[in-house]
């Protein structure tokens, strides 16, 4: 497989995963605020923090309210990680590979792209925020479904997996990091209804609420949320699960090539080890922020290494 093709597949996967997370975050935040009137803390601010683009936001918008943040998040052409921009980038990375993927996949991604071109404050208002984001969420499910059902489990699939899992691990760590610190409640609120609602929202953002209840029942505690989202081996959006998949795909990619232990594989094995041996209690005790930052950094490092090894053209 040409390095250029591998790179295109990798980035398509990353941008699709990124767009999905953004859509889910916006959706959950919106519903959260429906249930509870906003307090003094600005409820839309965390979304901006999650993208890591607070500075850019500040340039174009004077305040973080529902209108500005949803706009920045969803269809802003200037923002490099608005949902629309992610979809555009996914499509442009996928376009040259049209003949290598199933026609359904291309048609679906292209359809989403074409629709995204017409997004505006008006389209959102007309559709209604809830309906808009639910529909968007479903469209990403469709795309994922097509990938899973039509792609043979070959090198192309492994590069998509690696891209997806790296982005997912990074995203879940980012979600936890921002929410954990932004939501750091006043002592008197710990365990209170507001706290509970926020953590429920975090679980919803990862589509993990039902899975959580299966494991732990209704008692939502910080350490359990951290456990399912970081360390659970079976939940498909936990960082641990992502690391397992990442390592497996990298092993398959490396397995067919030279018998050299790949730096990317070593790095992903390390991350996997950290997530296999760690626990929520330890991570919280040692400083959750540091741990989450570490997951993000290691994911980025793995991405760079796999790119240099298999995809870069320079």
């Amino acid at each position: 497989m040409l390095r250029r093709i591998a790179g295109d597949l990798f980035w398509t996967a990353r941008y699709l995963e990124r767009a999905q997370w953004r859509a889910r975050l916006a959706d959950v935040n919106y519903h959260l605020l429906l249930e509870v009137p906003p307090r003094d803390a600005d409820p839309w601010e965390p979304l901006v923090q999650i993208t890591g683009e607070a500075e850019l936001f500040g340039v174009n918008y004077s305040r973080a309210d529902e209108t500005s943040v949803v706009s920045f998040f969803t269809f802003d052409r200037e923002s490099p990680s608005s949902i629309r921009r992610c979809i555009e980038l996914a499509r442009s990375n996928l376009s040259p590979l049209r003949h290598l993927i199933s026609s359904e996949l291309w048609l679906e991604v292209n359809r989403l792209y074409l629709d995204a071109q017409s997004w505006s404050a008006e389209t959102l208002a007309r559709a209604g925020m809830s309906a808009f984001f639910t529909d968007l969420r479903d469209r990403f499910y469709t795309i994922t479904g097509i990938i899973q059902s039509t792609m043979p489990r070959d090198l192309a699939y492994d590069f998509i997996q690696v891209g997806t899992m790296i982005e997912r691990a990074d995203s879940v760590a980012r979600l936890l990091d921002v929410k954990y610190h932004y939501l750091l409640p006043r002592i008197e609120d710990l365990g209170g209804p507001a706290d509970l609602r926020q953590w429920t929202a975090v679980l919803r953002s990862a589509s993990a609420l039902e899975a959580f209840r299966k494991l732990y029942g209704n008692a939502i505690r910080v350490d359990r949320v951290v456990a399912i989202l970081l360390f659970d081996p079976s939940f498909p959006r936990s960082a641990r699960f992502c690391a397992e998949q990442m390592a497996a795909s990298l092993a398959r990619i490396a397995g067919e090539g030279q018998a050299v232990t790949a730096p990317a594989g070593l790095a992903s094995d390390h991350l996997l080890e950290v997530l296999r041996t760690g626990s929520a209690a330890e991570a919280i005790a040692d400083g959750l922020h540091g741990f989450l930052l570490n997951v993000q950094n290691e994911s980025a490092a793995i991405a760079n290494l796999v790119f240099a090894q298999h995809m870069s053209l320079g």
């Binding site: 040409l2 250029r4 376009s95 040259p96 003949h99 074409l114 067919e256 298999h310």
Partner: protein
């Protein structure tokens, strides 16, 4: 075994003769004693029906099939074909289109028939022609015998913008320079095929030939089987075989790759199609690198050597070290790799010198010079306006000729004398007088016509005669291989002679019958 440059003594006479008198050279080239009467004056030949309206023998069955059809059925077939093309993604120039709308090369469901006997003659003529042109390319970048013998004027070749000095040091061991040729043929009023133009650089259109047949096999399977139409589906296999056969000596299992300019090129669909049918990697310039005078592609597991590159990129963009330095479509150092003999290129650098419109006039002489044979296929008479007497003759009746710019002209368009306005003719005359070497003249050929489904506005679609041409594809490898038939292009607008896709043309499936 391909015939190489041959210079027996007898040739010197013929060569000397051919070089002396331009008008004579034209006439000895064509094999048609009096072209004016047979072509310009005559009505276009209808390929399916004779003057009395009876179907020609090879078309009898198809004509009967069409006439027996319920009205509207043919239009339905046409619509089905269109949907199949769209569904299969047989589109062109759409990758660059941001809106994602697909355009297909219009397809006419009425097949064009060529009898076995006619084809046998065409095939022999095409092989002969391409072998001579191939020898010519090798000669002008090698010994230059044909130039020394003054059969072809040296200045025409060396002064051509398509002449590539970089090709001088490259000598493929296989002796093949023109691996893929697309020869444009037209059928005159006398029923004979004439060569209108050679395409020896990056000829395209074969993907439509294969796709058209695929669709027709679904639309009219019984007819194809009953007529025993010769298959075209093995073209990709033949192309792969030819490419492997021209690999550098001593390579056991040559790796072949197809170099494309990328998704924004209008022929990208064909590049994708062929690479998939052939089972070879489709690469862009940035996927390639030259190291130690060898050519490699950048794979996920490291560099993999490429032995034969089938390139659909023009010479100018092929190697920034030797040609345009700003090109991102090629790979630096490719020419050095070729010179070192570590890779083969299809087609070779500089083949454009042989498909120049001015050089075209000398192609019959080339066949005689290299092969010691009379040309089987006549060419359309081509007059070089650089010759004073010829120029006088043409300018006296400029309205009867088609004036075509040669490579040296800097891009003027074709002027079709019989259709041009007085002003256009005056301008053409001026241009010719200012720079006569930049133009050639040909008689206007009344291209044959073929019943084609037409859409008159308001009325239901009906069959009407439309002008067609034919582009067969010839492959040279260890041996010549000719695709049975080729691309029949049809001018969809009434009276139009313009058959290419960007200007209102479409295509038909071409059926060569088994003997």
């Amino acid at each position: 075994m391909l015939k190489r440059t041959a210079r027996p003594a007898a040739f010197r006479q013929i060569a000397a003769y051919s070089g002396r008198n331009m008008t004579d050279a034209q006439h000895t080239g064509s094999g048609v004693p009096d072209w004016k009467a047979s072509m310009a004056g005559g009505q276009p030949l209808n390929e399916m029906f004779d003057v009395d309206g009876h179907p020609r023998p090879e078309c009898a069955r198809v004509a009967a099939y069409l006439l027996a059809m319920e009205s509207g059925r043919l239009a339905e077939l046409g619509e089905r074909a269109r949907r199949m093309f769209l569904g299969r993604g047989v589109t062109f120039n759409v990758y660059g289109n941001e809106a994602g709308s697909e355009r297909i090369f219009p397809f006419d469901p009425v097949p064009r028939i060529i009898s076995a006997a006619t084809w046998a003659n065409l095939e022999a003529g095409l092989i002969q022609r391409v072998q001579a042109l191939n020898a010519f390319v090798g000669d002008v970048y090698g010994e230059g015998c044909i130039l020394k013998d003054e059969v072809v004027p040296r200045d025409l070749i060396v002064g051509s913008p398509q002449f590539r000095h970089a090709a001088a040091g490259i000598k493929p061991p296989s002796g093949v320079y023109v691996t893929v040729a697309g020869i444009d043929l037209v059928r005159g009023a006398d029923g004979s095929f004439y060569v209108l133009e050679d395409n020896l650089r990056t000829p395209s259109g074969v993907s439509y030939v294969i796709e058209n047949r695929l669709i027709m096999t679904r639309l009219m399977p019984e007819l194809i089987r009953a007529l025993r139409v010769r298959s075209v589906e093995h073209y990709a296999a033949d192309l792969t075989a030819s490419l492997r056969e021209i690999a550098p000596a001593g390579v056991n299992d040559p790796t072949v790759a197809l170099l494309t300019p990328g998704p924004y090129n209008s022929a990208f669909f064909e590049h994708v199609f062929l690479s998939q049918q052939m089972g070879v990697e489709l690469v862009e310039g940035r996927d390639l690198v030259c190291v130690d005078n060898k050519l490699y592609m950048k794979t996920v597991y490291g560099l993999r050597q490429v032995h034969v590159l089938y390139r659909r990129v023009d010479d100018d963009y092929l190697d920034p070290v030797v040609f345009r330095p700003d090109s991102l479509l090629g790979v630096a150092g490719l020419t050095a790799v070729l010179r070192a003999g570590n890779a083969s290129l299809a087609n070779a650098i500089g083949t454009g010198v042989a498909d120049d419109k001015a050089v075209f006039a000398y192609t019959p002489a080339m066949i005689r010079y290299y092969l010691n044979e009379e040309p089987i296929l006549p060419i359309v008479e081509t007059y070089l306006l650089r010759e004073p007497e010829v120029r006088q003759m043409v300018l006296r009746e400029i309205e009867r000729y088609v004036i075509k710019p040669t490579g040296a002209s800097g891009g003027y368009g074709v002027v079709i004398g019989p259709r041009a306005s007085g002003r256009e003719l005056a301008e053409a005359r001026q241009r010719i007088e200012r720079n006569p070497g930049a133009f050639v003249a040909q008689p206007m050929i009344s291209l044959s016509v073929h019943p084609t489904l037409t859409e008159e506005s308001g009325a239901s679609p009906a069959l009407a005669p439309r002008h067609v041409d034919l582009r067969p594809f010839v492959l040279l490898g260890a041996k010549p291989r000719v695709l049975a038939g080729g691309l029949t292009r049809v001018a969809l607008r009434e009276g139009s002679l313009v058959v290419n896709s960007s200007q209102g043309g479409g295509s038909k499936d071409t059926w060569v019958l088994e003997g």
